[in-house]
Symmetry: C2
Subunit: 161 residues, 2 copies
DNA sequence: TGCGGCTGTTTAACATGTTAATTATCAACC
DNA sequence: GGTTGATAATTAACATGTTAAACAGCCGCA
């Protein structure tokens, strides 16, 4: 509200933030800047971003049905199905049908994937440290807090819309 | 470094941040939370996210070659080519070859697109206000600053890597 | 037990992102 | 002025995201 000078007049006479000042764009650009280094590391190990997210999530749980996996790694179920299929082809995950509910497909990591994880994790953490150093620990922490705030408030956790 | 308790042991005995504490994931989730409302507004006007980014960027410049347009809206050139083609089919943009350099394709908004913009912009700004209220003006400003910081530092603006 | 609705997953169809190769034009140099 | 290398844009091929429909198994209930 204060910086009226950074706004532009539309043909209809109303104002609108300039394109540069768009929260989705700012989030997208920041994410791409952060991902660049991670992607380089992942590519050296033949993984893409989604595959690594899945492996990382599976590392924390032993086994999990594909629906909950998709939710945790923030990938839609059809994409998760496809990616898991690729990982299975490369012997990085097992898929077993639940005995109690034949609809459920339980996914788990193979020993090969665990070895891959152990080789990749240190490099990933090193890249994370590089990023933390570049940004500064305090700002990094503040950024995490703000992102969590935004996500929770807008997803209606609690009252609100 | 302080919260060792939030880390997990890998099979190799090293530690790694839990999946939830991943900056790319946090950025992705926040962006999706923010975009949800905007997408609803855009869909009502038959536009997707990329089309709106392009229209919004064109609104600020009169005309621009497709390469620079792609750079500004953070869409790769092949995608920009495709999206511009769709917009052209719907009479929302003009494309003219530069007289001085026949390789260049200049893109500009049609009057129809300007009308569409003027109808959409207020709703878009209303949604932006809703988000700002939910987050709080101070935190919103801090978030912008941190995102800019991250982007600049990691993209090597200045010294650094 | 068999029908209807519900749920977890997959398939299908299409949109968008991404990389590499291709085309067309320009610009410099001999 | 013709060749070579660089540049703007497109095309092609494939990966991933997204939505809707299909499929299969579960469950409750008459």
């Amino acid at each position: 509200m204060a910086d009226e000078s950074s706004r532009r007049l539309t043909a209809a006479g109303r104002t609108m933030r300039p394109f540069e000042q768009s929260l989705p764009m700012a989030l997208l650009r920041a994410r791409e800047a952060v991902m660049r280094g991670f992607r380089r590391v992942l590519r050296e190990h033949g993984l893409n971003e989604q595959e690594w997210r899945i492996i990382r999530a599976l590392k924390e749980v032993d086994r999990i049905d594909i629906g909950e996996l998709a939710e945790r790694v923030f990938i839609l179920k059809p994409s998760a199905t496809r990616t898991v299929k690729n990982l299975q082809r490369r012997n990085l995950v097992n898929r077993d049908k639940s005995a109690s509910d034949q609809r459920r497909a339980y996914i788990s990591l193979t020993p090969e994937a665990r070895e891959l994880f152990d080789r990749l994790a240190p490099k990933n953490e090193a890249e994370y440290s590089r990023i933390t150093e570049a940004i500064g620990g305090g700002d990094m922490k503040r950024l995490y807090e703000l992102l969590r705030l935004v996500t929770e408030r807008l997803n209606g956790n609690g009252r609100g819309c």
